[in-house]
């Protein structure tokens, strides 16, 4: 008996659906693990975690090696207290002589100058000497904190990035106390450069996460990137957030670098207005397309404090911000509220970035 051909007996709709079912079955069978690869290594003085999509399609060893070399070079060039181009720049700025700007440092100075102006000096990378006085220019920060007399002297006429005179590639320091520390900016630029390098290496979909601060490149097929926001005060996940291509998420927090002194927590974010560690905000998180701006803005909002952060967010063009206050409550912009999915029952308040009670732009 000859077997009957299948297709003439099946209704047209089933003839169409059968291949679809078979394709779906095959795709389901092939999904037995994560759809991304991860690389974790030490660079920039922290842990760098790279997520690559799709899985099993990249030269992981080659990518890690290239990224590590690039990040090590940036770390050496921009380190605030180890010998290198920034260290040499600081010595020459202090001497007040004219010198050729290192190509690796000049872009940071110009970006810092712009951000310092936008924040009216709240973001001030020229205060390296003050940061050092608090014991943060060492791998393991430690006290004692500076005395009242020392702080009063340092705040009498504090240096600013604007004190650096520039003529083409020539620089001259206009303040003897000026010492650059790009701690609130360098990581953003390093993450941006890392994503450029990944693109040069043929990677189309990735996340570069440096010590918790991250930026995306592309996105996985059919879904956004899924990011967990760790609770800065407790354990576990505070919220989940979905990111699209080219979005950076940066935080500044009192939990990062610091030490205990006489039962007080001394953290590394120094308020230029008081010369002391900032108060009132435990962490500031900024979502923005520019990682350097996100990095600097997170520091700025934390320094600005609970009253003034919306004004500085507006100055910097930040629509997406989330802040955990010292009492554990959460404030966030409406735009950020539309992006996060809280995983805890918590008390939060919406605040528009805007003039608020803070200073108006000049």
């Amino acid at each position: 008996m000859n077997p009957r051909p299948l297709s003439p007996d099946l209704p047209a709709i089933l003839r169409l659906l059968l291949p679809v079912f078979l394709s779906l079955l095959l795709s389901a069978c092939g999904r037995d693990g994560p759809d991304t690869d991860r690389l974790t290594f030490q660079a920039l003085g922290t842990l760098v975690d790279v997520t690559l999509y799709p899985a099993d399609t990249h030269d992981l060893t080659g990518i890690e090696s290239a990224l590590r070399d690039e990040l090590d070079a940036m770390h050496a060039a921009w380190h605030a207290w180890e010998p290198g181009p920034l260290g040499r720049t600081n010595r020459l700025l202090e001497q007040g002589v004219e010198f050729d700007a290192p190509a690796s440092v000049l872009p940071l100075i110009e970006r810092a100058r712009e951000l310092e102006r936008l924040t009216d000096g709240l973001f001030n990378p020229a205060l390296g000497r003050l940061v050092s006085a608090w014991g943060f220019h060492q791998d393991e920060p430690s006290g004692p904190p500076p005395s009242e007399e020392t702080l009063a002297t340092m705040l009498a006429d504090p240096p600013r990035v604007a004190d650096i005179e520039r003529d083409g590639m020539r620089l001259r320091g206009g303040h003897p106390e000026l010492q650059l520390d790009f701690g609130g900016l360098a990581k953003g630029l390093a993450v941006a450069r890392s994503l450029e390098l990944l693109t040069e290496l043929g990677v189309e979909h990735a996340i570069v996460n440096a010590g918790g601060d991250l930026m995306t490149l592309g996105e996985p097929a059919g879904r956004p990137w899924r990011i967990g926001l760790r609770d800065p005060r407790g354990t576990g996940v505070l919220a989940a957030i979905s990111l699209g291509p080219g979005e950076a998420l940066f935080s500044s927090g009192d939990y990062e670098r610091g030490y205990e002194w006489e039962s007080r927590r001394i953290h590394h974010v120094i308020d230029p207005r008081t010369g002391r560690p900032s108060q009132g905000i435990a962490s500031a998180t900024v979502l923005h397309g520019d990682p350097a701006l996100a990095d600097a803005a997170a520091t700025t909002l934390m320094i600005a404090g609970p009253q003034q952060w919306p004004a500085y967010a507006r100055r910097l063009g930040v629509d997406h911000a989330l802040l955990v206050l010292a009492d554990g409550s959460v404030e966030l912009t409406p735009a950020m509220a539309g992006r996060v999915d809280f995983r805890q029952d918590l008390d939060y308040r919406l605040r528009e970035s805007g003039p608020g009670t803070g200073p108006e732009p000049r």
Partner: protein, 122 residues
């Protein structure tokens, strides 16, 4: 032209059920963690199955990080550092959960099907 016969209907029904079951198994959220991956700067990642109770230490640059494993989960019990960030991550039970010891340059991450997050922000 013949219509759909009972045998054809049976085959189609079985095919639909097979596809549905396969997708349910493959894409169902909340699959448990099955493995702990310990990544340390300068060393190849180490893999530990989450199948039995055990406690062990990993030597890092700042001291020893003590790790406890129980079936389906792992946690950082003790680690150098004044803020207890590694310990405060708690039990790592969902695929993708992670604890970090920056002083020891160590990452603990549990893996398994259905990771919830692609990356952790902190």
């Amino acid at each position: 032209m013949h219509g759909l016969r009972w045998g054809d209907a049976l085959v189609v029904t079985l095919a639909v059920a097979l596809v549905g079951t396969a997708f349910g198994l493959a894409y169902a959220p909340g699959g448990g963690a099955t493995e702990l991956v310990v990544t340390q700067a300068g060393a190849a990642p180490r893999h530990y199955p989450l199948d039995a109770v055990r406690t062990f230490g990993v030597q890092g640059v700042a001291g020893v990080t003590t790790i406890r494993i129980e079936p389906g989960r792992a946690r950082c019990v003790d680690s150098p550092g004044t803020r207890d960030i590694c310990e405060r991550a708690g039990w790592l039970a969902r695929p993708g959960d992670m604890a970090v010891s920056l002083p020891n340059r160590l990452v603990l991450r549990v893996q398994g099907p259905g990771a919830e997050f692609d990356s952790m922000h902190f």
